[in-house]
Amino acid sequence: MVKRERGYTMMEIVVTLAVFGIFLMIVVILTAEMRANEKRYPINYMAHPEVSAVMARMRKDVFDTKYYPATFQSYQQTPKTLILYTLRQTGFGETVVYDFRSSGEVHRKGFNASEQTTDWVAHGLPDFTIGSFTLGTGQDAVRIKALDDQNRLAIDEIFVPRPHD
């Protein structure tokens, strides 16, 4: 007896291709949406613990700042260097330098008079730039910005010192 061999019917192939096509369409749509979101939104640096630590320390330091020295030792106020004269919990003053000149890291250096007392470092940071921002009251604030690798504005925060008597 000759065995009769049969392949798939046209209907079976059409149904299989249709199901596969629908599945493929959903995957393509979701992937396209994911790509569109990636292009549209900057990198969420604030979810990075070291970035949020830098922002928190800087916010606190600026909040307690009495004034911004133009220079301190070899440092100058630039978009990559922030110099603050701030108050410590002891009530005495401290000069604090945020040095963003090395790519991807910041040094927060604390000085008691001319002697350096602390050096805190954070790594894996975006490219921060520091600017000034003057409020309507004439108060000078610090504006810190960071762009991501696609030059999209990812961080833009204003820190304002509290009034001192």
Partner: protein
């Protein structure tokens, strides 16, 4: 002679049902994750703008609060990925010496909103607080 049989209709249907449930669940989880990631990104951007604007409204002279334009005065470039968006500021006088300032960012055709409220008190002192 052994009779060769394929799967029954019920077996095929149950198999397809299980496969459909697995695929649908996976895809919907993926889509939900995407949506939540987008909302998280938008919320973080919105609160940066709200925080900056709060610094400005915290320092406007108490007596001048009502006369301010009801929109954000700070730079809102950070909100660009959420365009079109709108910002608004509402000042409610709850007591003669107390005003509530509510800052709002709306986006996604006003379906999404982020708010930040600050309280201003007339202390009779400097206008910095």
């Amino acid at each position: 002679m052994r009779k060769s049989r394929g799967f029954s209709l019920i077996e095929v249907l149950v198999g397809l049902l299980i496969l459909t449930i697995v695929i649908t669940t996976t895809i919907s989880m993926f889509a939900e994750r995407q949506k939540r990631m987008r909302f998280a990104n938008e919320t973080i951007l919105a609160y940066q703008a709200l925080s900056n604007e709060a610094e400005i409204w915290r320092r406007i002279d108490f007596a001048s609060l009502d006369g301010q334009p009801p929109t954000f005065q700070s730079d809102t470039s950070i909100l660009a990925p959420m365009a079109p968006f709108s910002t608004s500021v509402r000042v409610d006088t709850t007591r003669a010496d107390l005003k509530n300032v509510t800052l709002t960012v709306r986006w996604s055709n006003a379906r999404r909103t982020a708010k930040l409220a600050i309280v201003r008190v007339d202390t009779g002192g400097s206008s910095l607080w």
